[in-house]
């Protein structure tokens, strides 16, 4: 969509509200609109609920997955998403090239964000900007604010204990870079979040700080409305599926926590094993110096153990840098997801309370006041978004863990293979000269 529409067009929520006829009311589109703001002149209004046609705010033809739509078509598009591999992807984001900046006030790291896209939301086909962790943090807050019905991916931990971890060490920076890259890729893959305005600005703006200062409330309609949901309403009954999700997340986080502790313990034991190995190998060298015929074999054993020690160190480094952070990320992820679930409960509670209040008043006609309708819309929208995101999350989680655990197995295999090579190579050395004697 070019030109005519204001750039601040939100990408979700209000469309679905407007497009969906209210279940309690008639099918009049006017009522469906409800009178909270004029629809954009370019927006066609859809009639049917569950219409398979994609509703496009920009009036163009559907270009695969590039456009947001009603929640039903959202689901459809999710299915389409699964079928689509890189070929019809139209947005690619990468985080790389960390650089250290030393200023008078502080020292910090920036990362280069490269964006390639054919989407119309982007003026240029390619962008390259530099961002620091703060900026990512800002983006995440904004996404949480503006897309409260969606699951926002987690960021790597913000604070590091000074003195324990070196914030500027290569390993730490690389681990963080990978996590930030994952964060952006998860947003990129999300059919709704990837169209978020804040995300767009994050990827493209030369001066992000200026934009931040503008403090423009670029909330989506839903964001706006959910923001005003007051707590304090008691939830009558949680729909089964959300109760199940809640329970699942609880157990999931618990198990991940256990796995994290086990993995840490393994690394600790491996490091202690490494310390002893590093003392063990050289003793063979010392012995070798005393001997004549045995000198070479003993020296060979010493060198072999040195190689095994190196291999072990590589294993522990890999596990620390690649395995643990991903586990922690998922624990953070499930924590933030539970907050979203809570928020959903509140939205439902508010709706139920208001509905009950109306029922109690028993006016002449069971005409549903507008604000109750709004609540219901809000709730149903939330439910739909959340459900879709959960499904998406489950799929991604499965991929991620499959990859993570296979990676862990791989690293262990590689470690043993390195040791095997080392030991096999000294067998001939140990055996030689016996015949020659």
């Amino acid at each position: 969509m070019s030109g005519g529409l204001p750039k601040a067009l939100p990408s979700t929520g209000p469309h679905s509200l407007r497009d969906m006829p209210h279940p309690l009311a008639g099918s009049s589109s006017e009522e469906a609109v409800g009178g909270d703001g004029t629809p954009s002149p370019d927006l066609p209004t859809a009639r049917s609920f569950g219409d398979k046609d994609l509703i496009l705010p920009n009036g163009g033809t559907p270009a695969g997955t590039s456009s947001p739509a009603s929640s039903s078509s959202l689901l459809n598009r999710l299915q389409l998403d699964d079928d689509i591999d890189g070929e019809t992807r139209d947005l690619f984001v990468t985080v790389d090239d960390p650089k250290k900046h030393v200023c008078t006030m502080e020292t910090y790291i920036t990362y280069r964000i490269t964006t390639k896209s054919t989407r119309v939301e982007f003026d240029l086909p390619e962008y390259s900007v530099r961002r620091r962790y703060q900026d990512f943090d800002w983006l995440r807050s904004k996404l949480e604010e503006s897309q409260p019905t969606h699951l926002i991916p987690p960021l790597p931990e913000k604070f590091v204990v000074k003195g324990v971890v070196d914030r500027f060490s290569e390993e730490f920076v690389e681990t963080r870079r990978k996590a930030l890259d994952k964060f952006l890729k998860r947003i990129t893959d999300h059919p709704v979040l990837s169209f978020n305005e804040h995300f767009n600005v994050f990827l493209t703006a030369k001066d992000l700080n200026a934009y931040k200062k503008q403090g423009m409330a670029l909330l989506t309609r839903v964001g706006e409305s959910v923001k005003h949901v007051t707590g304090g309403y008691k939830l009558r009954s949680r729909p089964l599926e959300f109760a199940a999700i809640g329970e699942y997340l609880d157990t999931f986080a618990l198990k991940l926590g256990t796995i994290d502790r086990i993995a840490q313990r393994i690394i600790k034991e491996e490091i202690e094993y490494l310390v002893e190995l590093r003392e063990y190998g050289p003793v063979y060298s010392t012995w070798s110096a005393l001997e004549g015929e045995l000198a070479e074999p003993l020296e060979g054993v010493s060198a072999c153990m040195g190689n095994c020690s190196t291999a072990l160190e590589e294993l522990t480094d890999d596990m620390t840098e690649d395995f643990l952070p991903v586990l922690r990320e998922y624990i953070l992820y499930s924590d933030s997801m539970k907050s979203v679930l809570k928020k959903r409960d509140q939205v439902q509670a508010e709706y139920e309370a208001k509905l009950e209040a109306v029922a109690l008043r028993k006016e002449d006609r069971p005409k549903v006041p507008a604000d109750v309708e709004k609540c219901q819309d809000r709730m149903e929208c939330f439910n739909a978004d959340l459900k879709a995101d959960m499904e998406r999350w489950q799929n991604n989680k499965r991929q991620d863990f499959r990859q993570l655990l296979m990676g862990m197995a791989d690293k262990n295999i590689q470690y043993y293979e390195k040791c095997l090579t080392a030991w096999e190579s000294i067998i001939p050395l140990l055996q030689e000269k016996q015949e020659a004697k």
Binding site: Y280, V283, L298, R402, N412, I427, L430
Partner: protein
């Protein structure tokens, strides 16, 4: 250089003598004396098989069982000890069947008695060591308890090894006491004690670190002693660190077992991922339990190293004996020299050395010519005796050096062979461990891929 087995009735005889002009023998020790070859006693160079010959070809020895016993000790108090069954089989023909010829029970203290006897009667031999009396270099999973079945089992193997080593030694295998150890259960201890070997044992050998100032040490023995000290030190260090390594490795493997349980619990809440997680967890359990066998095998390697740790001690003992011999020789030579000088002074009337007689003469008056004559005669007798003894000591020393050095060469070759084998088998163990690791993780990876 064969040595006839010492006859129990005759007192300890020196080994058959052979002339040897050893270049390194201290010149003072051979002061003025040229070693003459005493006539060779029978030199059975062709190793005639006497009935007592237990060289390995003819027999098989095994320590096949261990049994807990209770009995009364010397102070009539009840004690618990372990007895070991020593079985001897003779092989009539090569590849033929072995026939059990002897079977008796021995306890560790009897093995010790045998070894102490061998140490006294064969001072120039590097006598094979016994397995350790108490468990040392244990890592946390091993027991330091002497009654622990694993310790008893490893000791059984060590005792068998000791007997095999003695039986395969060209000289020790012919010893009658050794023969009786294998064949005569009752009364053996009394027979050994009757040899009076404890009396013959040089008590100075017990003072391991006491120094005896030897004026002309044999460089080869000095180096060898130094080597044995270093070897003991390095192998001890190695065994200590190895025990710690084993401990840590155990920890690494066992913690992985926890994955088994948590994967199982996690799989319960998953749909598609569940099966993969569950089966991967099983492989983690397999991994965790594999370490027990691995480390048990490694104990065998540690035992091989331990044997040579104790062998180093035996090597040192030989050097020590030589040192003492050399010291005694030098003392004897010194004594002879001073007597000769005294004699000369008496004969010529010049007093160069201090003597009590000289002092008293000065104080109380000169002695009569008759007195001087008699003194000279006594000294001459003593000198003659001393010269004989010195000659004998020299020859004894040279013989010791020759025989000892021959055994040391034999020992060196044995050591190099054995330790190379030990290193190879250790490498093979490590290779096996790596292959098992690869197998388990490959299996786990496949399970993960099905998640």
């Amino acid at each position: 250089m064969e040595q006839a087995a010492p006859d129990l009735e005759r007192p300890l005889q020196p080994a058959p003598l052979e002339p040897l002009g050893h270049p390194d023998a201290g010149p003072e020790a051979a002061v003025g004396e040229e070693a003459e070859g005493a006539p060779d006693e029978e030199d059975p160079g062709d190793r005639t098989m006497t009935e007592n010959n237990f060289c390995l070809k003819k027999i098989e020895i095994s320590v096949s069982e261990a049994e807990k016993r209770t009995g009364r000790n010397a102070m009539n108090m009840q004690e618990t000890y372990t007895a070991y069954l020593v079985e001897t089989r003779s092989v009539e023909h090569i590849d033929g069947p072995s026939v059990l010829t002897d079977s008796l029970w021995r306890r560790y203290s009897e093995f010790e008695l045998l070894r102490n006897y061998l140490l006294v009667y064969y001072p120039h031999i590097v006598v094979p060591p016994l397995p350790e009396k108490r468990a040392e270099f244990v890592w946390h999973k091993l027991s330091a308890d002497n009654m622990d079945p694993d310790f008893v089992e490893r000791r059984r193997i060590g005792l068998e090894n000791f007997l095999l080593r003695v039986a395969s030694h060209p000289i020790l295998c012919r010893d009658k006491i050794f023969y009786l150890f294998l064949t005569q259960e009752g009364n053996w201890k009394e027979i050994v004690n009757e040899t009076g070997f404890q009396l013959k044992a040089d008590s100075r050998l017990k003072a391991l670190n006491a120094t005896f100032r030897v004026k002309n040490p044999d460089k080869r023995f000095t180096e060898l002693k130094h080597y044995s000290d270093e070897l003991q030190s390095v192998i001890s260090h190695l065994l200590r660190v190895r025990a710690r390594v084993a401990d840590r490795l155990y920890g690494v493997y066992k913690v992985h077992g926890n994955y088994g349980r948590v994967f199982s619990e996690w799989s319960a809440i998953e749909k598609e991922m569940g099966d993969g997680l569950q089966s991967a967890g099983h492989h983690m359990d397999v991994y965790a339990s594999s370490i027990d066998d691995i480390l048990e095998d490694e104990e065998h390697y540690a035992d091989q190293l331990k044997e040579y740790l104790f062998y180093a001690e035996a090597l040192r003992a030989v050097c020590r004996k030589h040192e003492l011999m050399q010291y005694d020789l030098e003392m004897a030579a010194q004594d002879l020299a001073s007597k000769k000088q005294q004699c000369e002074e008496l004969a010529t009337g010049t007093v160069r050395t201090f003597s009590l007689k000289g002092m008293t003469t000065k104080l109380f008056g000169q002695e009569t010519p008759e007195q001087r004559e008699s003194r000279i005669k006594v000294l001459e007798e003593q000198i003659s005796e001393g010269e004989q003894q010195l000659k004998a000591k020299n020859l004894e020393g040279r013989e010791f050096v020759k025989n000892a050095w021959a055994d040391i060469e034999r020992f060196k070759e044995q050591k190099n062979r054995d330790l190379k084998e030990a290193l190879i088998s250790y490498a093979v163990m490590q290779i096996s461990m790596c292959k098992k690791g690869i197998q388990v993780w490959t299996n786990a990876k496949e399970c993960f891929s099905k998640m």
